[in-house]
Structure formats: C-alpha cells, structure tokens
C-alpha cells in the first residue's frame, strides 16, 4: 500500500473503512486511560483541583496548531505534488482544527477566571490563538465560497501556507513578549519543568487527542469523497435531464 495507491479515492475509502474501527477503539482506550490519570492526579499546591483543566486545555491547544501544520502539508501536496486527495485532506481538517482552537480558547477562558481573575486578557498568546481561530473560520469560508472544489482547493492551499506564519508566532509568543499566559513548560530547551505526576497524564491526553484527530480526520475525508461523488452524480443527472 504505497502513497500512490492512497491517491486512488476508492482504495482510500476501502482502507479507511478497514482502519477506522481500530483507530476509534484505540482513541477510546487512550482517552479512558488519560481521563482516569487526570482524575487521579494530585492537586496542585497553589491551584488545587483547578489545575486539572490543563489536561483538557493543553491538548486542545497543541492540536489546534498541529491541525494547521497538517493542512499546510496537505496544501503543499495540492500545489507542489498535485496529490489527488491532498485537497480532500485539507478541506476535511479545517472544521476539526477550528473546533480544537475554539475549545482551547473556551477551556483556557474558564481556567483563567479562577486563576487570573479574568475570562480574557489581550496578551500575546491569547491574541495570536484568537487570530488563528479567525483564520480557520476564514479558510472554511473560502472553501465554501468557490463552487468547484478543485479550484477552491488551490486558493485555500495558498491561504493555508500564508497563515502558517502564525504557528511559530503562537509558540514563541510567550518568550518574545511579557505575557500573562505562562511560558513554555513542556516543549522547551532544557526539558520539561512539569512534575512527572502531571506530565504523564498530560502526554497521554495529548496522544489521545492526536488519535482523536486522526480518527475524525479520516472519517471526514471519507465523507468529503462521498460528498463529491454525490455532487458529480447530481450534475450528471441534471445534464441528462437537460439533454
């Protein structure tokens, strides 16, 4: 099963049908383990039990950036390698990424109220993630604005690559500016500063969310391929009626 095999939509659908139940089961297992570990993690000496929002908030934030990176690779696949399913992958990923970004903003806001005393603050990290959310919505609007999916794909690919500049800005915003959001404590030079009791559940939840994205993405790609087939059939039917 080479990548060129995967370019065939029918073969891709067959592969997706075989793989999806296993991916879904693996996601469920990882989520169960992660949630159990999060629930039994100790309370923080300063934040108390509220620290456990971190186990939901941080994986959502990681995934929001990861999905844009995946879409950027798909955009390169559309523009550079002309892979037939690259635009399907990009279109299917956008709403999922927007959902992760929205959840990251909402859970962060709910965490900020007890911790910082405010639901929102215009600091660098929150502002750049909000801009990422707006860019996701703009990208979804662009996909739906052009009738022909393959022409929409090329426009959306350009916008995805231009918007990828936001990812390093988000990641390093807490280093470049004096922000309310705390600096990096997991992915930083010199290793993580989180205690193992918090780091392990966090990484397990991160892995679970990643598999959740892969499962949802494959299912969404399958839906998009079927949607395009329906559209082709409708157009054939309409032209036959006219003839």
């Amino acid at each position: 099963m080479t990548p060129t095999d995967l370019a065939n939509p029918s073969k891709f659908l067959a592969l997706a049908a075989r793989v999806l139940p296993w991916l879904a089961a693996l996601t469920a297992v990882l989520l169960a383990i992660g949630l159990y570990q999060s629930a039994t993690a100790p309370d923080d000496y300063q934040q108390g039990a509220t620290v456990k929002i971190m186990f939901i908030h941080v994986p959502n934030a990681w995934l929001s950036m990861f999905v844009w990176a995946v879409m950027s690779v798909a955009a390169l696949g559309t523009l550079v390698w002309r892979h037939p399913l690259a635009d399907v992958a990009a279109k299917a990923a956008a709403p999922i990424g927007a959902a992760f970004t929205f959840l990251a903003l909402v859970t962060g806001s709910l965490w900020g109220r007890p911790m910082w005393g405010t639901y929102w603050e215009w600091d660098a990290r929150l502002t750049s993630v909000l801009i990422l959310f707006l860019m996701y919505l703009g990208l979804m609007a662009l996909w739906r604005a052009v009738e022909d999916p393959s022409r929409a794909a090329r426009a959306a690919a350009v916008l995805t690559l231009v918007g990828a500049i936001n990812l390093p800005i988000i990641k390093f915003s807490v280093d470049w500016w004096n922000t309310l959001h705390q600096p990096a404590s997991v992915f930083r030079a010199g290793g993580s500063t989180l205690d193992r009791a918090f780091l392990v559940p966090l990484l397990v939840m991160g892995l679970a969310f990643t598999f959740l994205f892969v499962t949802l993405h494959l299912a969404a790609m399958r839906n998009e391929i079927l949607r395009r087939r329906v559209r082709s059939l409708q157009m054939m039917q309409a032209s036959q009626k006219a003839a």
């Binding site: 523009l79 502002t127 703009g138 609007a141 662009l142 022409r151 936001n166």
Partner: protein
C-alpha cells in the same frame, strides 16, 4: 522594466480617474476619523490619547476598502488574463500593481494625516510619528491585502470574504504601528523596536505578497 513601468503608470492613471479617484480613500479616512469623536465623546485629552489608534484604524479600513479594486476591474475585462500570460513574471506584475495601488491610495492617506491629527488634538510630534509609522506600515497593508484580493478576485460577491481573509494578516501591522506611535509620543517603550519590526513586516510582505497573489491568480484563472 518598461513593461512594469507601463503597468504602474496605467494603474495609477486608472486609480486616479475611475471610481471617485484616489481621493475617495482619503474621504473615507476623513469620515472614519470624524465618526470617532461622536462615538468616544469630545474630550480632547482622551482623543489625543486615542489619536494614533484612531488614525491607524482609519487608514487600515480605508486601504481595505480600496483593495478589491486591485484586480477586479482587470479580471472583468480580461486584462488579468493578458497580464498573467505576458512574458513578465506574474509575481513582478502583481508587485507593480500593488506599488501603483499604494502610490495612488496609500500615499494620499499619509498626506492627509496631519490635517486629521488636528481634528484629534494631536501635537506636531505625535502627528509626525503617526505619519512616519503609516509610511512604513501601509506598504505592508497593501501587499498583504493583495493576497486576499487575489484570492477573492474570482468570486462574484467576494468583498466581505476579502475583508475576513485580510484582517487577521493585518493585525500585526496595526499592533506595531500603534505601539511605535504611542512610544514616540511619550511612553516607556522605545520607538525603535516596534518601528523596526513594522519595517520588517513591510519588507517581508513585499516578497510574500506578490508570490502568494501570483500563485492565487494562476490557480484561479484556469
């Protein structure tokens, strides 16, 4: 070189003569700046403090509204196809059109800034600072806005979508423009750092904008 020069001259002539001319952008800038005191209140000290932000917002919105003129007229009468097929690389043609657009629509905004600064009770130093940051930042607005204009050119009612696509990319320019202006007026921060980043944003958009716009036009036209 002469092909690009001809393109710039043509675009400037069209921008100055058609659709209300270049001054329509200045008129919109004036309208926005005049509206602000009605919303904020006539307190002169408050207006002086908000002055750089109001001027920057007005310039951003004025350049946003003139952006769809960049490619739309050419797309409608077919000249965009000819420009795309010409021997001059499409990236240079897009850069030339954006330069012409900035000269015809961006520069008048900067020239109008001192007059509008009077309306907002800005002193000479503040007005000069805002005008300087606008001079450094409006190229970034034009060249990144060109990306949205190129993406939306093939859509029929793409005006609002253009704004939604362009605004997130313009936010850094706005942030650093206002930061530099406020720093020059009298703030704890230095003027040099935000101003340098503003110039850097303009320089980066000079490269990225034409590349992305040319790619969008090329893919959108076939």
């Amino acid at each position: 070189m002469t092909a690009l020069g001809a393109l710039i001259r043509r675009d400037i002539k069209i921008a100055l003569r058609v659709g209300g001319g270049a001054l329509i952008g200045v008129l919109f800038f004036l309208t926005v700046v005049v509206l602000m005191p009605f919303a904020v209140g006539p307190d002169l000290k408050l207006l002086a403090r908000l002055g750089p932000a109001i001027l920057w917002l007005g310039a951003l919105l004025a350049s946003l509204l003139t952006l769809d003129r960049l490619f739309l007229a050419d797309h409608d009468d077919g000249s965009l196809d000819l420009i795309a097929m010409a021997r001059t690389p499409l990236e240079f043609s897009c850069a030339a059109k954006a330069l012409a657009h900035w000269l015809a629509a961006g520069l008048p905004l900067i020239v109008a800034t001192p007059v509008l600064g009077l309306l907002l009770n800005l002193d000479l130093q503040a007005t000069a600072a805002v005008a300087l940051t606008l001079l450094a930042g409006t190229p970034a607005l034009t060249f990144t806005g060109m990306i949205g204009a190129a993406l939306a050119v093939t859509l029929h009612r793409g005006g609002l979508l253009l704004a939604v696509l362009v605004l997130p990319l313009s936010i850094p320019v706005l942030i650093f423009g206002v930061a530099a202006s406020d720093a020059a007026i009298g703030g704890p921060q230095s003027f040099g750092a935000p101003f340098a980043i503003l110039c850097a944003l303009s320089l980066v958009s000079l490269v990225v904008g034409p590349l992305a716009a040319a790619a969008s036009i090329r893919h959108g036209l076939d």
